[in-house]
């Protein structure tokens, strides 16, 4: 398949025939939130044909998950964007995240089912609407999972909306996918997502805290996607999962820098801070990639301390 790598004319209207699911999803957002058009246009501006193909498949998945609740999902996304803007205001004024402890995040977010539902819905939709989120998912699927040549067992810690586990299970070499979370209600959300999409024969979801002892089971791949920034001490998490990696196993980390959110605690100020922490915990980095926020160049994101999603693949 020929893949264009240069910018081409992409706007929302042009998607109607080439990417009907993406078009439908964007229209559903604009129906409720017309003012978001400028952002969506920015998001599409630098998309390649390959990106659009990925976005279309992802939109199809999201529509399938939220087929009868698309409106609620858009409202959740709108709520999340407003919440992020408030955190952004605090961050720009104070140069730090508002929350400093996990306890505060539990109180404000994790123990509040209404907030959690809106937040999960918002994050799910952001996988299509925020270019850095889409790029990470695309990297995870096309550059990481598809290149694992042997059968593998995968653990995701904190699977949340479940979309990473879905992509893992869709890969032929994945023989088992496991999701751990400290919250049963969060796992219920993951289960709902995945049961809508596919057979869950490969799937195990379990309430498990990575800091507590378990059977000592090991995995070929461990995924920490948007987890470290939610912790007071991310080093402790990186160290505690080391022994759960099977020999030759690989850790996939996705963590944002300068990304204020209602439950973000640990502030990584640059990709180098992420790389240094992972190396300091005894890992060797074999791959990395960085994806700046929607509509922003990497140079500008670095210069102005804007959000950058950082992906690291590491071994012990």
């Amino acid at each position: 398949m020929l893949v264009l790598t240069v910018e081409f004319d992409t706007n929302i209207e042009s998607l109607e025939t080439v990417a009907p699911n993406a078009y439908h999803l964007f229209q559903a957002v604009l129906q409720i939130w017309p003012a978001h058009k400028k952002f969506i246009e920015q998001r599409l501006k630098f998309s390649t044909e390959k990106d659009i193909i990925f976005i279309e498949k992802l939109a199809q998945i999201l529509i399938k998950i939220k087929q009868n609740e698309l409106k609620e999902c858009v409202l959740g996304y709108q709520w999340m964007c407003a919440a992020v803007l408030e955190e952004e205001l605090y961050f720009r004024r104070n140069h730090q995240y508002r929350l400093t402890s996990f306890e505060e995040a539990v109180r404000d977010v994790y123990d509040n089912p209404t907030v959690m539902t809106k937040y999960m819905d918002g994050l799910l939709l952001s996988q299509v609407l925020w270019s850095n989120h889409t790029s990470v998912l695309q990297y995870f699927h096309e550059s990481f999972l598809e290149n694992i040549s042997k059968p593998f067992q995968l653990l995701e810690v904190g699977p949340g909306h479940g979309i990473f586990l879905y992509y893992a299970m869709s890969v032929k070499n994945c023989i088992r996918a496991v999701g751990w979370d400290i919250s049963q209600s969060s796992l219920d959300f993951t289960q709902n997502t995945l049961s809508t999409l596919s057979s869950s024969a490969k799937l195990t979801l379990k309430v498990q805290n990575i800091f507590e002892n378990d059977s000592g089971e090991q995995f070929d791949v461990i995924v920490l996607s948007e987890i470290l920034e939610h912790l007071e001490n991310p080093q402790q998490a990186l160290l505690s999962i080391k022994h759960r990696l099977a020999p030759g196993g690989r850790l996939f980390v996705n963590v944002p820098c300068n990304s204020p959110a209602p439950d973000h605690i640990f502030l990584f100020r640059s990709p180098d801070e992420v790389f240094d922490m992972i190396r300091d915990c005894g890992y060797q980095i074999s791959e990395s990639a960085v994806f700046p926020a929607t509509g922003v160049s990497l140079q500008k994101a670095c210069d102005k301390s804007l959000t950058i999603s950082v992906v690291v693949v590491a071994t012990v």
Partner: protein
């Protein structure tokens, strides 16, 4: 600070925050008229204005003004006293 001086200073803040040296402020200019003036840049713009003019906006004020004219009125009303 009179309105003319304020507009001059505010233009510099807008040009730097929105990275557009050609931007000319008029009282009826809105975010829809400026390509770079999206919601995230709006927050950065607000904080740059707060720092430049030594004022602080309430969360409501950050989102409620409709155009540059409203913003100028807000800045003029705030100069000399901080808002919690």
């Amino acid at each position: 600070m009179n309105e003319e001086i304020l507009y001059k200073k505010l233009t510099g803040v807008f040009q730097e925050a929105l990275e557009d040296e050609t931007l000319v402020l008029t009282s009826d200019l809105t975010a829809n008229d400026v390509p770079n003036w999206d919601s995230l840049n709006h927050i950065r713009l607000i904080v740059s204005i707060e720092e430049a003019f030594g004022i602080k906006f309430s969360t409501l004020e950050v989102t409620e003004f409709k155009n540059v004219g409203d913003l100028v009125d807000l800045i003029l009303s705030k100069q000399g006293h901080l808002v919690d």
